[in-house]
Symmetry: C2
Subunit: 199 residues, 2 copies
């Protein structure tokens, strides 16, 4: 299982935002939607062994599970509509109980720390300061930790470093979060595939 | 200079399409917009040394130049609006003369073959059948050739193979065109950066 956790600093925690203005009044919701696509979809297929977690304003976490989600399309608008529906139902998520308004899309009213505490796998912080990906052994059951268009806050960084087993960089160019997800997938996908051609 | 050429088989050749339905009535225009973003944008920056060419229905080619384009945002809708404006002006593109309704966005009424004939660089066909990227020397001034959600037609394939210096695959997972662009950039970006850690 591969997992991706993306922190959204400005995205809305309720569903009352316009689908026509995802980058503006919806607080860069476009970026979170592209992260979902990059994590779960490839050409004509769904990565069934992947989960993506959107932690929004340290208040709400939406988890999309590639194994159970249905009819996910790659465009931003339809993904935003799906997530908007989850946010519309947030008042039904009580305590640790998630609400799951569509298959494979679960919303919990909890923030970063309890989400990290609950993980089963190897958290990997993606950050320019980290070790270079090819020199790092591919972690088992990795959980990649990323931020949206903002840097992690000092508090988030501390919390993430407490949980992360290692910090990894994917290259010299600072990438959008969704681009980093695509490259991380490729890193893991090609590990065995490329090996014999390296020598 | 890096360049990317993406063939759009169903995207509209005129600007009369709804921005609210890019995947449907706009013939997967969402995918072409994500290709523009993947090719030209990184985190808080523009790749000024990159050009992307969208060849639509073998009839119209829109070229977006990272060196001169202004205020390009990463979301699909605003990119679609920018390209729509170019298509709105297509009747002003006469013969080989482009129309450039906004800086860095040029539209020509020509299809695949004349666009390929006009290239200065090393065409590289991205396809699952190709050589594995890491085993291939990074080409100078590469022009990556990709298709949208459809396979290349037999005619396109023949034309592309006549022009392509080599055929390269980026990994075992079939990728969306925009994901392939992101991975191709990472391949080239990391060539020197990663080298010393491989040994």
């Amino acid at each position: 299982m591969r997992q991706f956790l993306i922190i959204g600093h400005e995205a809305p925690t309720h569903g009352d935002f316009p689908l026509d203005d995802l980058p503006g009044s919806a607080g860069r919701f476009d970026l979170l939607c592209r992260c979902v696509t990059a994590a779960l979809l490839y050409s004509h297929g769904v990565r069934t062994n992947v989960r993506v977690h959107l932690v929004i304003q340290d208040e709400v976490t939406i988890t999309i599970d590639g194994g159970t989600v249905r009819r996910l399309n790659p465009d931003e608008r339809s993904t935003a509509a799906r997530l908007q529906t989850a946010l519309d139902h947030r008042d039904e998520a009580i305590g640790h109980q998630p609400v799951e308004p569509s298959p494979g899309v679960a919303l919990r009213t909890r923030g970063l720390e309890p989400t990290l505490d609950d993980f089963d796998g190897t958290p990997v912080l993606l950050h320019p300061d980290g070790e270079k990906a090819p020199a790092v052994d591919v972690p088992s059951d990795p959980i990649f930790l990323l931020s949206d268009h903002h840097e992690f806050t000092a508090g988030e960084r501390e919390l993430l470093e407490d949980h992360a087993v290692r910090t990894v960089t994917l290259g010299p160019t600072p990438l959008h979060a969704d681009q980093a997800i695509t490259v991380a997938h490729n890193w893991l996908d090609t590990e065995g595939f490329m090996a014999y051609s390296d020598h």
